[in-house]
Amino acid sequence: MKVTNEKDLKALGTQARKKMSEAALRIQVGTSTCGLSRRADLLKQALEAEVKKQGLAADIVEVGCNGMCYQEPIVDVIQKGRPKITYGAVTADKAAALVKAIKSGSVLKEHALFRTDAEENVIAGESIPYGTDEAPQPLKELPERGSYPFYQKQQKIALRNAGLIDPTCIDEYIAFGGYSALAAALAMPAMQVIQEVITSGLRGRGGAGFPTGIKWKTCSEAAGEAKYVVANGSEGDPDIGMHRSMMEGDPHAVLEGLIIAAYAVGASKGFIYVSTHYPAALANIREAVRQAYDYGLLGEAVLGSTFSFDVIIDEGSGGYVCGEETALITTLEGRYGEPRPRPPFPAQKGLWGQPTVVNNLETLAMVPAIIARGGKWFSGIGTRGNAGTKVLSLNGSITRPCLVEVPLGTTLEEIIAIGGGVSAGKKLKAVTIGGPSGSVLPAQSVKLPLTYDDLNKAGAILGAGFTVIDDSVNMADLALYFLNFFKEETCGKCTTCREGVKKMCELVGELCQGQGRQGHIDLLKQMSQPMIDGSLCALGKTVPVVITSTLKHFAADYSHYIKG
């Protein structure tokens, strides 16, 4: 079925919304990779069997992760005319008790986390209330979502639909305003779309923080036979799963952002780069692309307009360096993933020498909201020059490892508080932001606001990984862990990076084994600046930062290993 105009799209949305709200009972099970690792699949089977046994009619749907990975498996129960109840840590053996509680109209107290009175539709800027007429007393006693500590400081834009809709169902995405931003964009001249993104102040979420609108403008003004847009879904950092969760929970948001980007710069072909390490994400994004083709949102004459656009999904082997945009382009061309020198920038000469926009998935997922609500609205979130929200993958020594989305300008302290603070009995020692490439920030910098500028000043970058490190960790060991990671992940092109990482790894390794001398530390310091200068891409330029930042703030950890 092809959707050829905005009216049909709206009708589809209304119909899908009606179907969702009129269901007598809808049970949502979080089956992202985090849920599956806690056997959400068994839970779903158990629920299905139990519902049948107890004679209830229910829609049991699989949804993405709502960010509370520490509470998996998560179940949302929506009964007609009542607020949504979210249950956490519901294992398969609790299925019977849960269904019993639903049947009797009460709440399974020991697992209930909070209730949601109204769902926020970010795209339309409205809240969609659930009925509250016949809510029983125990339900009213549950905290409302807005006052639940996990959600208090959060604002969801990129993750607006994750955990809310069935990611494999395009209708449910449309029900929450999906693709209406695309329709709005297609009604504008391309230049106006770019202007809107410039006004929003959106900056690349990959870490470098380059203004997205300016990148699009450069590409749209560059001359070329063809233009390309690329969604960078590479995620090579250890311990984070932001892109994975986004593609598993809401693949259409990324796809819609990509189509808008393509329209804005005049591209006819787009690529979505996904690592093969994420099979569930790959399956969902493939399905999303197939559905979008079915609905005429991709291919010839998108939404009945004169704009045509095709999307190809490229499976990468997930090398860390392939997150670097020029290396990503090289792999898309079918060659060994090595970065290229800039200039020329990819926006001028990228994929096969043609102007190419490479955007992070998170950046793209924000775009539909910007177009629908306007650049002004977006620039009002966060702080001046650092607009919008940022998705962070909280991990390390934290009580509640989770995926959060906070407005820029939130302090690191507040973010750690969302994750429930440092693990019990431990003291905060340091925080790393942006994975191995980010610098290590000491405990006293927790008052820093999370913005590109403040972090850059502190020598760090705004990446997706947010690792909390407690006082039981020796920072020299941490540096060695990161160096060992880089040893495998450097592409090996530049002598300074390849040989430098190897030698740094040996030096820190010897130190950590107690065979080091002061000379080792001096040599590490002396190597850093020439290594930064002599390496081509951000990987080689950030490796020494791990050493310099740990040496600067935690010199005692190194000298601890030096004998005598």
Binding site: P341, E489, G492, T495, R498, G500, Q529
Partner: protein, 311 residues
Amino acid sequence: MITITINGKKIKTEEGRTILEVARDEGIHIPNLCSNDALKPAGNCRLCSVEVTQGDRTTIETSCNYLVQEGMKVATDTERVKDVRKLVMELLLARCPNPKKIRDVAAEVGVTAVREEFSLENEYCILCGLCVRTCAEVVQANAIDFEGSGINKRVAVPFDESSKECIACGSCALVCPTQIIKMHNFDNAQVVYADGEQNLGAQRLMQNWKTELPIKFCKSCGNPIAPERQLTWLGNKMIFPPEMFNLCQTCRSYPTIDEEICMGCGQCCDNCPCCALELKEEKGEIKSFCFTGNCTGCRICEDICPRAAIS
């Protein structure tokens, strides 16, 4: 024309050239290990790093692949640049302490010994990629490439098995700065089996790529020419008549130009694939001349001459 400054010296040059090219024309030496005029620049060794100032931004860039731009200021000998070069050579010297070329270039940038905290390896390959790029860009055989990732990267043939792509031309061995790529010619190669031995005749062995190919002999004098596969490859790639590849360099016939008939039209010079013919003025007349050093004996000029002056 644009103007750039190298080490305080104003230089007028054309757009589209690299800093390394411009500096070399000006007699400013920038050490390098992985650049070759016949190949596209790669920027692998990082030895040719220079300091580039554009506007208020000063960065370290590799001069081999950084294009000159109007108003750019380049410094080739600042402390920052020297530090990068020293680190590059010290790291390479730690990796490959033996090859003479590495020791020489290291000494050139002021590195004579590796600091004792660095461990020494016994490698010979510096991963400059000259062999890989020569095979891909000049020979176009694409027989070798980088393999592995991270610090285990190396140059290899696919699966480390003798490949059909290698034509044993030896170009990789020719460009290798550390001479670790070994090419051997055998007059009569023998394979020894448990129950006897087999003579393979004349063979060329590319030791690193495990390629061993029979050599073709000249039909006229009987001397060895080159591996048969290489000659077939060249025959398919080039416009030369196939029978040319049956003869060795000395036995191919070279053009003699009858000066009486030659009118100096220059058509032979324009069409010679090897630029072996040239017009020269002699005794007030313009005549074409052949330099046999460049000539491959392809006989294209013979067919092209409008007055049959070349035989």
